[in-house]
């Protein structure tokens, strides 16, 4: 009897120790990704942000990769909530409704959804103004082209992609009014074969700088093989095209993720929609390739500073669309609502939106 009581007491003590020492601060954070983290693209960038969380005291993280949008993502989110995760990040647009459903069932768990627009008591959403980075990459591309034709391998005709193409074009036009941007849609997010072929078709019409929206380095490969320049996306794509790569529009999620999780730890978190700009560090451009001249670097660095100070707004009028219709009046700045619903190309883009 005595022995039994002793064991029970000991067991109770052992169980109590971690509960006491970590009590209020321990936070379990789960991430749901659309693609494998090794893709050097979109999910890879989110995963780098997750790794930064691991450095925080009391924070443990884990992730599930390659989760399709729809019912599968709901199951994964539900599973995480049941297992006692405190914060769940879902990083693809199509996770929005599944996450909202699970959020309603688990009011104590914080849900954060990337690129969507729905919020709840315990669900917020976030995204970055990557178009600011696109603008800067456009300035670099517009400075480097000699044919005045830039090629853009585009993913899907949705506002986010269109906004990126427009910002890139405005950036290029700011230093090179003669420049035109040719767009080829692949309707893929990750298909190296098709995207590389699309890139080659742009080379055939004379493009000498290629930009892209997809996750795959296919277009970078095409630029490297053809001996022209390229602009990457998501992460620094330099390693795929060392001779071609000028710079990339990149995501850096660490500042936002650490801030959001800190707020949950401190109990100050509130559901909100945030669209993070360059001043937060979430969107940026990667280091320039060796071929980018000093003058171009200085100009772009200067513009970057202006964006961060708020002095330079990318979509400042007058902005005309392909048909020459004025979309943003002189002196006006496009509203976030206009940006989020953008379904027209600026003048200077060659391509269709259907």
């Amino acid at each position: 009897m005595k022995l039994k009581r002793l064991i029970i007491t000991l067991a109770a003590l052992v169980l109590a120790i971690p509960a006491v020492s970590f009590a209020a601060k321990e936070v379990k954070v789960g991430f749901i990704y659309i693609s494998p983290v090794g893709d050097a693209g979109y999910s890879y960038a989110h995963n780098e942000g997750r790794k930064a969380l691991e450095q925080m005291e009391g924070v443990t993280t884990s992730f599930v990769e390659a989760v399709p949008e729809g019912p599968d993502s709901e199951r994964v989110a539900l599973n995480m909530a049941r297992k006692g995760y405190d914060v769940i990040f879902g990083t693809s647009f199509g996770y929005m409704d599944p996450m909202l459903k699970v959020a309603k069932k688990f009011p104590k768990v914080v849900f954060l959804h990337c690129s969507g627009y729905k919020t709840a008591q315990n669900m917020g959403n976030y995204f970055g103004r990557i178009y600011q980075s696109r603008y800067l990459t456009g300035v670099v591309a517009g400075s480097m082209t000699t044919s005045n034709i830039l090629g853009y391998v585009a993913a899907m005709p949705i506002p986010e992609v269109i906004r990126g193409i427009n910002a890139f074009t405005l950036g290029a036009q700011s230093v090179n009014p003669k420049v035109q941007v040719r767009v080829v849609w692949t309707n893929t997010w990750y298909d190296p074969a098709t995207e590389k072929e699309a890139a080659k078709s742009l080379l055939d019409v004379g493009a000498d700088v290629l930009a892209q929206h997809q996750d795959s380095p296919g277009p970078q490969e095409a630029a490297e093989e053809a001996g022209v320049y390229s602009v990457g996306y998501n992460t620094n794509m330099q390693s795929f095209a060392p001779k071609a790569h000028l710079t990339s529009a990149v995501w850096n999620w660490a500042p936002y993720y650490t801030k959001a999780v800190k707020e949950v730890q401190d109990g100050t978190w509130k559901p909100e929609s945030v669209w993070l700009g360059m001043e937060t560090g979430v969107v940026d451009i990667s280091p320039y390739g060796d071929m980018v001249p000093q003058a171009v670097r200085e100009n772009v660095d200067n513009l970057k500073q202006q964006i961060m100070d708020g002095g330079l707004k990318i979509f400042t009028g007058p902005i005309f669309d392909q048909q020459g219709k004025e979309r943003v009046a002189a002196g006006q700045v496009a509203t976030d609502d206009q940006l989020l619903n953008m379904n027209w190309f600026v003048k200077g883009v060659t391509g269709t939106l259907k």
Binding site: P157, V183, A198, E221
Partner: protein, 306 residues
């Protein structure tokens, strides 16, 4: 469309048609022996992955190319076991092979997504590549494209001039008569399945070794199914398969170039073109030739001891 655009377009046609060509030839060999294998897509996927894996591990693209063929043979041997040993339904077994192959390649390949491996690059053939226009279109590609030029005549010779090839066709047309003539029906069908699988694996290897040098999930993107359709378009003839594969590749390359040149056509419609065209071509070629081009015993199982 001017000449400057036309020649790169035709060169891209040949390049994007090549993976499909290998796979189509593989399916022709299989079907000639009387076995329908709808697992092409899956076999291409395992072929593409094993090629990528071996290239990354050994640094030798040629070794990787052969390995893809061997793995393709291993994959289709499942189909052989089901259809030849157990008399299973060929359609169901083929579909299962597609699911299994694609799933397996995606599963094993997950850690490698987005990574690079050594592969083939374009090598201009000395002399031939200097021919105006034709040189640029046909003789400025990677070695796997050149190899694909040799295959149709070799296969024609195989089917019409060699004992095994003639036997293989016989068991596809009339297994009972072939058996009465003393042919080993089971063995010949095994040859058809395995050699066919070898070529399908090579088709996959073209995607991960030459077309790109990257690995990604679902790399084949439906090209295996296109190959199945092109077999009918080709009337089971290796020579015609070349035109089918290039037609598909040509439309694929054309739609991207139409977009790049600023054509005011819906990109969704253009992206649908290669697949829509395959369906149309299939309908017309079936209407012209009816069924007499197909091996008569295609899809019919044969009892081992019959």
């Amino acid at each position: 469309m001017n000449f400057d655009i036309l020649i790169p377009l035709l060169a891209a046609t040949v390049l994007s048609g090549t993976p499909v060509l290998y796979a189509t030839l593989g399916e022709i060999i299989t079907e000639k022996s009387g076995v329908l294998n709808l697992g092409v897509e899956g076999v291409m996927m395992v072929g593409a992955f094993s090629a990528f894996f071996v290239a990354a591990a050994t640094g030798s693209p040629w070794l990787a190319f052969v390995a893809a063929g061997v793995v393709g043979m291993l994959a289709v041997s499942l189909h052989g076991v089901v259809c030849l040993w157990f008399q299973g339904n060929q359609v169901v077994s083929g579909l299962a092979l597609t699911l299994l192959g694609s799933g397996l390649a995606n599963y094993l390949g997950t850690p490698y997504v987005g990574t690079k491996a050594p592969g083939f690059s374009a090598v201009a053939l000395p002399g031939l590549s200097r021919i105006p226009a034709l040189g640029e279109i046909f003789f400025n590609h990677d070695p796997l494209v050149y190899l694909s030029y040799l295959l149709p005549p070799i296969l024609w010779f195989f089917f019409h001039r060699t004992g095994i090839g003639l036997g293989l066709r016989a068991v596809g047309e009339n297994p009972a008569a072939a058996r009465a003539a003393g042919l080993n029906v089971q063995r010949l069908r095994w040859i058809g399945i395995l050699v066919g699988g070898f070529f399908m694996g090579l088709g996959g290897a073209c995607l991960s070794l030459a077309y790109t040098h990257l690995w990604t999930s679902s790399l084949s993107g439906g090209r295996g199914w296109i190959a199945v359709a092109l077999v009918i378009f080709a009337f089971w003839r290796p020579g015609r398969a070349v035109f089918g594969a290039w037609l598909f590749g040509g439309v694929m390359a054309l739609q991207l170039r139409l977009q790049a040149s600023g054509a005011q056509v819906s990109s969704s419609l253009l992206l649908m073109l290669p697949y829509a065209l395959t369906v149309i071509v299939l309908v017309f070629s079936s209407a012209w030739r009816k069924s007499d081009a197909a091996p008569a015993a295609l899809g019919v199982n044969v009892e081992p001891g019959e």
